[in-house]
């Protein structure tokens, strides 16, 4: 017997079977493992995709939130800047130009607007201007700020809370009637001024704001029947206030003693500080009108600054040539005129156009204030019409000429915007806007003045006018530098 005999054939058969079985088991097991691995991979991928999707959504939300933060920060800052234009900006600018006895009364007019128009805006002003309504007037839907919360209103500004938009627009509603005060300076009763400008805000301002900026407005640049380009309020703010100022100056008549008695500005230092505050505040006014912290805001900011500088130069130069000396009052008046004229254009033109607009406006307003006013003899005491009415009208028309799709493709990318780009028709639209603003201002203001005159009387008594607004209307004086003052 060999010790190492081959395995019996039986045994070898069973071994083979066992091996085959093992192989099959292994195969199955392998397939199973592989299959298992496959499922694991599928599950892992969809989990990763889900995670990525979540991440993308989170990124989107974060980007939207960051944009809202950025836009909202800029818009709240802009709102504050525009309020600064009225007080102290305009209050100082105007009160420096009046006689000493009217300094507080004049400041008080601007300040009264800050208080009264604010409350009016909450009650009905915002709703009348920006509520859903017709082509001419807002609605009643937002009375008492109903529905105006922190949710954005996509009709106006999709990235900021509607309350931010509301309070920003309020600052415009405040300064516009305050601008008119320059025309009737030193002679209107305080009560008459309050009533007049409150009614004016409802009857003239809110409808005009709705027509130009309101959703579905007649002159709205996107979708209006006559798309009028008015970026920050050339028609809504400056033409309405300036033209109403002229109407008021004619209606109420000249100051006692005008133009024979000298009525010199009592402190150009106040006016100077006021004008510089206006200049700075105007960045909020114009660049803020982009309603976002974006490139358009930058365009408007740059244009605003360039136009103001150019107009300061051209007014002062005109004066230098014509009367031998460039005055401080001339330079600051020119800057304000330039700011007025660039207001409608600020978000539509390039910086070089802004300089041209500024240069033209400085000379034009100088001519209106120094020549035209004297020819006609009206007493627009602080030149509200000469600067805001005239500058606003010129600016609105020049916007139709210089607007370019490169800065703001408001009619669609690459489509001609202004006359220089080949859209001559835009000048007609601008004229329509200007004519409507003039019309509503003249008619509205005449009616309101008539009513207020009948109700409370517009003018101070002659005696009170001599004493000055400070004592007659408020019972106090601005400066007490007498020897026995404590």
């Amino acid at each position: 017997m060999p010790l190492l005999s081959p395995k019996s054939p039986r045994a070898s058969v069973s071994t083979t079977i066992a091996i085959r079985c093992l192989l099959i088991v292994a195969l199955f097991a392998g397939v199973a493992v592989l299959a298992h691995a496959q499922t694991t991979t599928d599950a892992g991928q969809s989990a990763r995709i889900a995670a990525l999707e979540q991440q993308v959504a989170a990124n989107k939300a974060a980007a939207a939130s960051a944009q809202t933060s950025g836009d909202n920060a800029w818009m709240l800052t802009s709102a504050a800047l525009v309020l600064m234009m009225t007080g102290p900006g305009l209050a100082l600018f105007y009160s420096g130009l009046v006689r000493k006895k009217n300094v507080l009364g004049t400041m008080m007019q601007s300040f009264a607007m800050m208080a009264v128009i604010t409350v009016l805006w909450a009650i009905c002003g915002y709703s009348f201007a920006f509520g859903q309504g017709t082509a001419y007037f807002g609605g009643l839907g937002n009375l008492f700020l109903h529905g105006v919360g922190v949710t954005p209103n996509a009709n106006y500004a999709a990235t900021i809370p509607e309350q931010t938009f509301m309070v920003y627009q309020l600052m415009f509603a405040i300064i516009t009637p305050a601008l008119i005060c320059g025309a009737f300076a030193e002679r209107m009763k305080f009560s008459a001024m309050l009533l007049y400008l409150t009614l004016w805000s409802i009857i003239v301002y809110s409808p005009m704001a709705h027509m130009v900026w309101g959703v579905g407005g007649l002159l709205n640049a996107s979708g209006g029947k006559f798309p009028c380009l008015d970026f920050a309020g050339g028609t809504v703010v400056h033409i309405t206030s300036g033209v109403s100022a002229l109407v008021t100056a004619l209606y109420i008549g000249k100051r006692v003693g005008y133009p024979k008695e000298p009525m010199m500005p009592h402190s150009l230092v106040l006016s100077f500080i006021g004008a510089c505050l206006l200049w700075v505040g105007w960045f909020g006014f114009n660049a803020g009108s982009a309603l976002a912290a974006n490139g358009l805001a930058t365009s408007a900011f740059v244009n605003t600054h360039f136009a103001a500088a150019a107009a300061a130069i051209s007014w002062a130069a005109a004066e230098w040539i014509r009367s031998g000396k460039p005055t401080a009052l001339g330079a600051i008046s020119g800057a304000v005129a330039g700011l007025v004229a660039i207001t409608p254009a600020s978000g539509f033109v390039d910086p070089m156009s802004a300089i041209w607009i500024g240069l033209a406006t400085g000379v034009f307003c100088y001519f209106m204030v120094v020549k035209v006013k004297i020819w006609f003899g009206y007493d627009d005491s602080l030149d509200s019409f000469g600067v805001h009415g005239a500058g606003g009208t010129l600016g609105a028309l020049l916007t139709g000429i210089f607007a370019t799709s490169a800065i703001n493709p408001v009619f669609g990318a690459g489509k001609a915007t202004g006359w220089l780009e080949g859209n001559a028709h835009q000048l007609l639209n601008q004229l329509t806007g200007v004519a409507l603003a003039w019309g509503i201002s003249i008619v509205g203001t005449l009616i309101i003045l008539f009513v207020v005159d009948k109700l409370v009387g517009l003018r101070l008594s002659e005696e009170d006018e001599h004493r000055g607004l400070d004592l007659a209307a408020h019972g106090e004086v601005g400066y007490d530098w007498e020897i026995n003052a404590h």
């Binding site: 133009p259 000298p262 010199m264 500005p265 009367s323 005055t327 009052l329 001339g330 100088y366 120094v370």
Partner: protein
């Protein structure tokens, strides 16, 4: 005792005060005044409107001195206030009857 009233250019006030102090004048009263002599005023321009300003800012100073001090005081004022141009001002001299120091009712020269 005499009263000297001098109307001078505001810019000369400090020089005149010092000159008076140097010659021994102890008390002085200053009034800010407006007026014009033969030089009349100037013109100012505000937004193209021309205003002729004929009353110019001046300073009026008043001193009352004993008789012995009158000439010295006058010379001090004249030399400090003179520029030689029109508008330098004027001096008026008048006799004073009496003076009273309110604190102790001293009278006459000693009250000055």
């Amino acid at each position: 005792m005499h009263k000297i009233e001098a109307i001078i250019q505001p810019s000369k006030l400090d020089a005149v005060k010092e000159a008076l102090l140097e010659v021994g004048v102890e008390g002085i009263t200053i009034l800010e005044a407006r007026g014009h002599g033969r030089q009349k005023g100037h013109t100012e321009f505000y937004r193209g409107r021309e205003y002729s300003v004929d009353l110019l800012p001046k300073v009026k100073l008043e001193i009352v001195v004993v008789d012995a001090m009158v000439e010295k005081s006058l010379q001090a004022i004249i030399s400090a206030a003179r520029t030689g141009r029109i508008g330098d001002g004027k001096i008026f001299i008048s006799r004073i009857d009496d003076a009273i120091r309110i604190r102790n009712e001293e009278r006459g020269d000693i009250a000055l």
